[in-house]
Amino acid sequence: MQAILNFINQNVELIYIVILMIFLGIEIIGRVPSVLHTPLMSGANAIHGVVIIGAIIVMGKAESDNYMALILGFLAVILGTLNVVGGFVVTDRMLEMFKKKKTPIPKGEKNMK
C-alpha cells in the first residue's frame, strides 16, 4: 500500500498522462462509422509502430561485442520499421478506396457551414 502510494506520488505526472491518454483514445474514435473500422484499425496499428524508437535506442546503445543486443536490436529495428512503414502505406491505400466515395459528403454539407 505504502509502496503504491509512493509510486503514485513519484510518477504522478506520468500517471496523469496515461489516464488522460486513455480518455482521449476513447473519446476520439467514439463516433467512427463502421465502414471506417478497418482503415482506423490499420492506422492505429501503424501508430503503435512508434515502438521502433525503443529498437533504435537499443541498437544504438549496444556495445560492439554484445552480439545478443546487436542481433536482437537489429531484428527489432527491421520489424519495427515494417510495422511503421507498412502500416502507414497500407492504410493510405485502403483510404484511397473510400476517398472518392466520400467526396460527396464534404461537397454536400461542409460548404454550407
Partner: protein, 476 residues
C-alpha cells in the same frame, strides 16, 4: 540543448498521433489524418537517431540502424503496395505482429542487460539486484509483446487460409494454465539466483508465445478482424511499456493511445455485428453448433428461378440493385459482377449496389472488393440510402449475402441478430437470391426472406452464375 529539441520532437509526435487518429475516424479527413500521423512518426524517429543522448552518451551503430531502417522500409513498402486489396486485413495483422515482436525483443535485450551486469556477483538473488519497477515493465512488455506477436501471426495465417481453425475440449482451461505458468515463471525469475535468472525468464517468453498461439487458434476465421483489433491494442500497451522503460513520452503516449482506442474499436466492431467480445472469444467453440439448421423449413417452401427468366427480368427492368455479400468475396466474382453491371447499363438498366456496413467478413469488405473491380463509387449506396431506394427498385440481385438481408433482424426478437440494421430488400418488386445452397450464413440462422413469395432462388457459385447470366442477357 539537443535533448530539449528531442523532447519537443516527441511532443509534436504525440500531438500528431492524437490528431491523426481523430481525423482517421471521419471519412472526410481520414486520409490526411494518416499522413499527419506518419509525419509525426518521421519526426520522432529522425529526432531519436540524431538527438538522443543519455547523460552525454550519444547513439552508435549507425550502420546497423540505417541498415535495419532501409531493409524494413523496402520490404514494408513493397508488401503494402503489392498486396491484393482483399488481402489487406491479413497484412495489417502481419504488421501488427511485427510491432509486437519488436516490443518483446526490446524488453528481452533490456532484461539481458540486467542479467549480464549482475551474474558475475555470486549467490545474490535477482530481486536484490534489479529494481522492481524496471523489471515489472520489462516483463509486461515481454509477455504482452510476445502474445500479440504469436497471436497476430496465427490470425494472419488463418485469414490467408494457411492455418485452419483448431480447438479441443477444455482449451480455455489449458490457455489459462499456460498464461498462469508464464506469469509464474516471471515471478520465479524475480526470486531466482542471478546466475541462472535468464533460464526462467526465457521460459516466460516461450510460454507467452504459446499462449498467443492457442489464444487465437480456436477463434473462427470470420472473427479475425475483431481479434486483430484486440491484438492491435495489446501491441499498443506493449509499446507503452517501452515508453516507461526509456521514459520516452512519444512511445508512452502513442502506445496508450492505441491501447485505449484499439480496445474501444474492438468493442465497436463486435457491436456492429451484434455480438459481445466475450461471445467472439469464447463462443467461437459453438462454431459447429451455430451452423445448426434445426429450424430449417419452418418457413415452408422456396421457389427457384431459371437463368433465362432471371436474365429476362433484369434485362427488362428499369432499376436493378445488387446486394453483394460474403459469398461474392469467396467466389471472387467482383469482376464478373462489374461486367454484368456494364452490360445492363448498355441495355439502359440503372444498376446500383447496396452496401451493408458489415457485409462480408471485415468492415468495409464490400467497398474494398468492388473497388478492386473498379466499380464506380457513386454507385455504391450506404445502407440508409439503399433502404430508401428499394421501394423504387424492380429487381434486387443478392449475390452471396444472407444475414445482412435477414428480416428477422427487424421482426424476430428471439433471433440472435435481432436489432442489427439490415437491408430491407423485401420492399423491392422482385428479389433474386444467388447462393450455392440453402445453408445459413455467418450467424448460422435461417433466413425467412428466401421463402417469401417475391423471392426466388438462383443456386450456384456466384462467379459461375454471373457468367451464365452475362451470356443469357447478351442473347436477350
Amino acid at each position: 540543448m539537443s535533448i530539449s529539441i528531442l523532447s519537443l520532437c516527441y511532443l509534436i509526435a504525440s500531438v500528431t498521433f492524437i490528431l491523426g487518429l481523430k481525423m482517421l475516424s471521419n471519412p472526410a479527413t481520414a486520409r490526411r489524418g494518416n499522413l499527419i500521423a506518419a509525419g509525426g512518426m518521421a519526426i520522432a524517429i529522425a529526432g531519436t537517431i540524431f538527438l538522443y543522448d543519455n547523460d552525454g552518451k550519444k547513439l552508435g551503430n549507425y550502420a546497423w540502424i540505417f541498415g535495419g531502417l532501409i531493409i524494413g522500409s523496402i520490404i514494408g513498402t513493397l508488401t503494402a503496395k503489392k498486396v491484393k486489396m482483399t488481402a489487406m486485413p491479413e497484412l495489417v495483422s502481419f504488421f501488427n505482429g511485427m510491432g509486437g515482436a519488436c516490443a518483446a525483443l526490446i524488453s528481452i535485450v533490456e532484461f539481458d542487460y540486467l542479467f549480464r551486469e549482475n551474474r558475475t556477483l555470486d549467490s545474490a538473488w535477482f530481486n536484490n539486484v534489479a529494481p522492481a519497477g524496471h523489471y515489472l515493465t520489462i516483463v509486461a512488455g515481454t509477455i504482452i509483446g510476445s502474445i500479440s506477436f504469436a497471436g497476430s501471426v496465427i490470425a494472419w495465417g488463418k485469414l490467408n487460409g494457411k492455418i485452419k481453425d483448431f480447438s479441443f475440449k477444455g482449451q480455455h482451461i489449458f490457455n489459462l494454465v499456460v498464461f498462469a505458468l508464464a506469469l509464474g515463471a516471471a515471478v520465479f525469475t524475480w526470486y531466482s539466483n542471478v546466475k541462472i535468472a535468464n533460464i526462467p525468464f526465457f521460459i516466460t517468453v516461450f510460454l507467452a508465445l504459446l499462449y498467443g498461439v492457442f489464444f487465437v487458434l480456436p477463434i473462427g476465421g470470420a472473427d479475425m478482424p475483431v481479434v486483430i483489433s484486440l491484438l492491435n491494442s495489446f501491441t499498443g500497451v506493449a509499446a507503452a511499456c517501452g515508453g516507461f522503460l526509456y521514459n520516452n513520452k512519444a512511445m508512452l503516449t502513442g502506445g496508450i493511445l492505441v491501447g485505449a482506442a484499439g480496445t474501444l474499436l474492438t468493442i465497436l466492431m463486435c457491436r456492429a455485428m451484434n455480438r459481445s467480445l466475450k461471445n467472439v472469444l469464447i463462443g467461437s467453440f459453438g462454431g459447429a453448433a451455430k451452423g445448426t439448421e434445426s429450424k430449417a423449413g419452418e418457413f415452408g417452401s422456396y421457389k427457384e428461378i431459371s437463368l433465362s427468366d432471371a436474365a429476362m427480368l433484369m434485362a427488362y427492368a428499369k432499376k436493378v440493385m445488387i446486394v453483394p455479400g460474403y459469398g461474392l468475396a469467396v467466389a471472387q466474382a467482383q469482376h464478373t459482377c462489374h461486367e454484368l453491371e456494364k452490360l445492363l447499363n448498355e441495355k439502359g438498366v440503372e444498376v446500383k449496389y447496396a452496401i451493408h456496413p458489415v457485409a462480408g467478413r471485415m468492415p468495409g469488405h464490400m467497398n474494398v472488393l468492388l473497388a478492386e473491380a473498379d466499380v464506380n463509387y457513386e454507385n455504391l449506396l450506404e445502407m440508409q440510402d439503399a433502404n430508401n431506394e428499394f421501394k423504387t427498385t424492380d429487381v434486387v440481385l443478392i449475390l452471396g449475402a444472407n444475414d445482412v438481408v435477414n428480416p428477422a433482424a427487424k421482426n424476430d426478437p428471439s433471433s440472435p441478430i435481432y436489432g442489427m440494421p439490415v437491408l430491407e430488400v423485401e420492399q423491392a418488386k422482385t428479389v433474386i437470391v444467388n447462393k450455392r445452397s440453402m445453408k445459413p450464413g455467418y450467424a448460422g440462422i435461417e433466413n425467412e426472406l428466401f421463402f417469401q413469395p417475391k423471392t426466388s432462388m438462383l443456386f450456384g457459385d456466384a462467379k459461375k452464375v454471373l457468367q451464365d447470366l452475362l451470356v443469357e442477357i447478351k442473347n436477350t
